[in-house]
Structures are given as C-alpha cells and as structure tokens.
C-alpha cells in the first residue's frame, strides 16, 4: 500500500530507492567547484534568461532587460506550497 504523507512547506520530492548506486571517487582537483561563491552585495547580479508566465502569455525574460529599473528577484520552493 502506498504510504500517505502529510504535505509540508517543502515541495514533496522523491529519489532513487534501494541500494545506493556506486559512486566513482573523483579526485578533488577535477571535482567541479561546489556552488561558486554566494552573491555579494555591491556586485553585479548574474544575468540569466528564463521562461516565464506573464500577463497570460509564456515569454522569455532576461534580467538584463530590466537595466534602468529596480528589480526584486524572489525565489520560492514551489507553486502550491503553503507559505
């Protein structure tokens, strides 16, 4: 029987089940850099392009289109989450 779960504020997600797949040990020099340094205040915001839903249409938005305007960029865990 599938087990019922209580939805919380994080987006419900899954992953590989059972035995963990063997992971190849990557020598540290060649390991990709962990998330590059956190954003710094007073520095340029990294530009990006992303699809969006806006005014009833699907559009592509580049952050650089907003140069000359104040921008509030908000991230959140997921649509239909509670907070």
């Amino acid at each position: 029987m599938p087990e019922e779960f209580k939805p919380g504020c994080a987006r419900p997600t899954g992953g590989p089940a059972g035995e963990k797949p063997l992971q190849k040990e990557i020598p540290s020099e060649t390991r990709p850099k962990e998330t590059s340094a956190m954003i710094k205040v007073g520095r340029k915001a990294p530009d990006f392009s992303a699809p969006a839903f806006f005014n009833g249409k699907f559009v592509n938005i580049n952050l650089s289109e907003y140069l000359g305007k104040w921008v509030v960029l908000c991230f959140y865990p997921g649509d239909f989450t509670f907070v």
């Binding site: 997600t13 205040v41 520095r43 915001a45 839903f53 699907f58 509030v72 649509d79």
Partner: protein, 132 residues
C-alpha cells in the same frame, strides 16, 4: 522564480493566486528547471531539489544592493523589502551624501556622513529611533 514549469505557474496563477490578487500576479513568474539560476544565486537546495526563499534587490545598474534568504516554512515581510528599496533609492538619489540609520523609514531623518558627524551620531540619532 521556482523550479516549476511555466505551465504549473499558469495553473497556480489562474486557479489560486488570481483569487488572492485581482487580475492575477502582476509580475513575471519565472521558471528555473533544474535550479540553474538558483545555483548561481546561491539559494538552490540541491538535496531538496528546490529553491529556498531568496530575495534580491537589484538596482538600475544591475548591482545587488541587498538580499535575504529564509528556509521554506517562514514567509517574507513585503513591507520590509519595500522599506529597503525606498532607503536604497534615497541613498542613490542623494548620490551617496545621505545614509539611512537603523530603523529608518520614509519621513524619518537621514544621516549626512562627513567629518563633522564623527563621534556625534549620539547627538542626532537616539536608540528609540531604531524602532517603529
């Protein structure tokens, strides 16, 4: 911006958010599948596969003036974000000649940093002013 697709954004806007805000969400709902943008902004939680509550204020030159990041269960304070934007705008318009002390909000006094103010902030700014 979240990792949801634009299709899910549309459904959320049309079926729930438009019932909270007349006319629906007035700004672009961005999709970041895989958290690629969230990763460069340092707020993507790889383990949970979602973005945390990161909020960035970016000025007209594309410079990050401030950010705040919260874990998922705690919501943000929109008034505080607006207050910060008003403060950054005031500083920008003054070309850096004015600064907004702790607790500043529109209408409250600003500080004019300079040699005459060194050691004299206590005369013009009182701790009660840090609070509403």
């Amino acid at each position: 911006m979240s990792i949801d697709s634009v299709f899910v954004h549309k459904m959320w806007n049309d079926h729930e958010l438009s019932k909270m805000v007349a006319g629906g969400v007035p700004f672009p709902m961005l999709s970041d599948a895989g958290g690629k943008v969230g990763t460069i902004y340092g707020i993507y939680d790889e383990e949970a596969g979602v973005e945390t509550r990161g909020r960035f204020i970016i000025d007209p030159d594309g410079i990050v003036q401030g950010f705040e990041v919260l874990t998922p269960p705690v919501g943000r304070n929109v008034s505080e974000s607006l207050r910060q934007i008003q403060a950054f705008q005031l500083v920008r318009n003054s070309k850096g000649t004015e600064a907004t002390p702790s607790g500043w909000k529109p209408g409250k006094m600003t500080l004019k940093p300079g040699i005459d103010l060194v050691g004299k902030v206590w005369e013009v700014w009182k701790t009660e002013m840090a609070f509403d």
